[in-house]
């Protein structure tokens, strides 16, 4: 049987999909891809369902080898160099790894997470409808943990030999939009203004549970203890030290710190891909605007199949050349030593 073998991989890399829904009432968080648009783009390139399980690759390099036959994969998300046997390949395209050859991927540039989708998907045993890795709960399939060198994925033979690229939808830059609440009344107007008017940077001590923010200290009106209530992806909680934390898909399902605001669903992937140390701002929007943006985002996801383009060898090489030039200005997104921070530092209870 044909396999894709993980030849090398850094931390913070795991199988992720659209997430595990329906068991948050039992304390089981959703997990799932940090950047769902990129997950969907990679899957669309190889004909998979948009939120099928694929390999979420953290900020560091990785290598994958095809064994006992060719394997077609596609790469999207944070930009990085990609080559097979010395041949440079472009982001946002499919590629076939011949039997015995290795796809080598460099560090993420201008982002944190890339997605490698495998044609035919990933075989595994679903729990609550998902293969997504949740290491704390011991869930995820085929491996209930971050990936390690030597891990294998069973694959199907490629369907034909046409490669494709996808015109990634333009993502407007600009502030990360939030809806104030649910506990904005635990903060003074001045504290909320400081939160909205300041420049923030994502701390290198961030992970799939939460992104810590470096910036001014946000003070509470009545202290930092509230009786725990439910959290969502994008909840921005402010613990005792006044440094906000944006909760990400591996969050605790409940939390006992006041939540000043929530990142809108359409902007969460963009925040997830903001490199540590890069300055950004928040902007408060109405619930109406947030829900309109959720609809636009859904439309954008639905448009992905229409954005597929056939590629031939010449076009591939032009793209590859462009990609290789970009690679010259590479900056690592996050520091390797910071990606195994004890989760307890992020949470209380």
């Amino acid at each position: 049987m044909t396999k894709l073998i993980v030849a090398a991989i850094g931390p913070a890399s795991s199988v992720q999909d659209g997430g595990r829904h329906g068991a948050q009432r039992y304390g089981l968080t959703t997990s799932g891809a940090m950047d769902r648009l990129a997950l969907a783009a990679a899957n669309t390139l190889v004909g998979n369902a948009p939120f099928a399980a694929s390999i979420e690759i953290g900020p560091f390099g990785a290598a994958f080898t095809a064994k006992d036959g060719p394997v077609r994969v596609a790469l999207s998300g944070a930009s990085r160099s990609a080559d097979i046997a010395g041949q440079q390949l472009a982001m946002d395209s499919s590629m076939t790894i011949a039997d015995g050859e290795t796809l080598s991927l460099g560090f993420a540039k201008g982002g944190a997470f890339s997605y490698l989708a495998i044609e035919g998907g990933i075989a595994g045993e679903q729990t609550f409808g998902s293969l997504a890795v949740n290491a704390r709960a011991g869930l995820g399939s085929p491996y209930p943990r971050p990936l390690q060198a030597g891990d294998e994925f069973h694959t199907k033979p490629p369907n034909g030999d046409d490669e494709r690229r996808i015109e990634r939808p333009p993502i407007a830059p600009g502030p990360i939009r939030v809806v104030l609440g649910p506990q904005d009344d635990e903060f003074s107007d001045d504290a909320i203004a400081l939160f909205l008017d300041s420049e923030w940077k994502i701390s290198p001590t961030s992970d799939r549970m939460g992104y810590r923010l470096d910036g001014p200290v946000i003070k509470h009106l009545h202290g930092h203890n509230i009786v725990s209530d439910g959290t969502v992806d994008g909840s921005i909680q402010v613990p005792g030290n006044g440094a906000p934390i944006v909760l990400m898909p591996d969050r605790g399902t409940t939390g006992g710190y006041p939540k000043i605001s929530t990142v809108i669903s359409a902007d969460l992937g963009r925040l997830a891909q903001t490199p540590a140390g890069t300055g950004f701002r928040f902007k408060a929007v109405s619930i109406k605007e947030a829900q309109d943006e959720a609809k636009n985002f859904a439309k954008l996801l639905r448009s992905l199949p229409d954005r597929l383009r056939a590629i031939d060898k010449i076009e591939l090489n032009i793209d590859a050349l462009h990609s290789a030039n970009v690679a010259g200005s590479a900056v690592s997104a996050m520091d390797v030593n910071t990606w195994n921070v004890p989760a307890g530092a992020l949470m209380r209870d």
């Binding site: 829904h21 329906g22 068991a23 948050q24 009432r25 039992y26 304390g27 089981l28 729990t127 704390r136 709960a137 011991g138 869930l139 809806v179 104030l180 609440g181 649910p182 506990q183 509230i226 009786v227 725990s228 209530d229 439910g230 959290t231 969502v232 992806d233 994008g234 909840s235 605790g252 399902t253 409940t254 939390g255 939540k259 929530t262 990142v263 809108i264 669903s265 359409a266 619930i287 109406k288 947030a290 829900q291 943006e293 959720a294 609809k295 859904a298 004890p342 989760a343 307890g344 530092a345 949470m347 209380r348 209870d349």
Partner: protein, 243 residues
């Protein structure tokens, strides 16, 4: 005629969730209203609601804004929260074995000292309690119980531990809890149970539900080890003493 209960507050949790807040504090009456609204949504689902998360004082309602918008769902939730709750199905009652103190409950002596009593008295008081599952959250199967005797109220530790063992039975504030997987915690560790409130490949995967009644029974460390082995193999270990 009984006055209608005061309406809950609707709080925005982004564009895909509403927090229906019944109280700001830990309050049994509020928790009953949370669980009643949760039941009402389970019995007659609202189109577009994806899942709900009951907590001590609020119900978090996750929904799909493409199928129902904030205004419409908020109005529906307020209307339902004002309706008299449907009759509660008789709560299940679980008896959970706990080995207290020693290496399994490293804070028992400190708690006794802080409360000017003996470890045996702490255990006797904790075992005498009648609790119910107010919420399950934070990490898989972590069950927050209400009904802790006031005497056992302790502020959380100033320095939370980065990890505490699976099966930990602890107290924090006016709550006691059953923890399932190893997790960070700022609570005081009284003991451990072999009961897995969450276990993959077991039916049911999650043992306890919000609203279930719980009492504890003290067992010795040797029994804990035996029960732990049985639980690892899939035994439930907790005793269902009543429906």
């Amino acid at each position: 005629m009984v006055a209608a209960p005061s309406p809950p507050r609707l709080l925005l949790s982004g564009d895909c969730a509403i927090t229906v807040e019944f109280a700001k504090t830990i309050d049994d009456a509020a928790n009953q209203r949370v669980l009643a609204l949760d039941r009402a949504l389970a019995e007659a689902p609202v189109e577009g609601v994806a899942e709900t998360v009951p907590t001590y004082r609020s119900l978090l309602v996750h929904y799909d804004p493409l199928r129902i918008e904030f205004e419409a769902l908020g109005a529906e939730l307020l209307a339902r929260a004002q309706q008299p709750p449907s009759p509660i199905e008789t709560a299940r009652h679980w008896r959970i074995p706990v080995t207290y103190g020693g290496e399994n409950g490293i804070d028992l002596e400190d708690v006794a000292n802080a409360l000017n009593t003996t470890p045996d008295d702490i255990v006797a008081r904790h075992v005498a309690g009648h609790y119910h599952v107010a919420m399950i959250g934070f990490s898989p199967g972590w069950s927050y119980l209400s009904g802790l005797e006031k005497f056992l109220t302790m502020p959380r530790r100033t320095n939370p531990r980065l990890t505490t063992p699976p099966g930990t039975i602890s107290i924090g504030g006016i709550q006691t809890g059953i923890q399932c997987v190893a997790a960070p915690s700022g609570w005081h560790l009284l003991g451990r149970t072999a009961v897995r409130t969450y276990q993959l490949h077991r039916d049911p995967i999650f043992l306890l539900k919000p609203g279930d009644r719980v009492t504890f029974v003290a067992v010795d460390a040797k029994t804990f080890v035996e029960q732990d082995r049985a639980a690892e193999a899939g035994a439930i270990v907790a005793e269902l003493v009543g429906q």
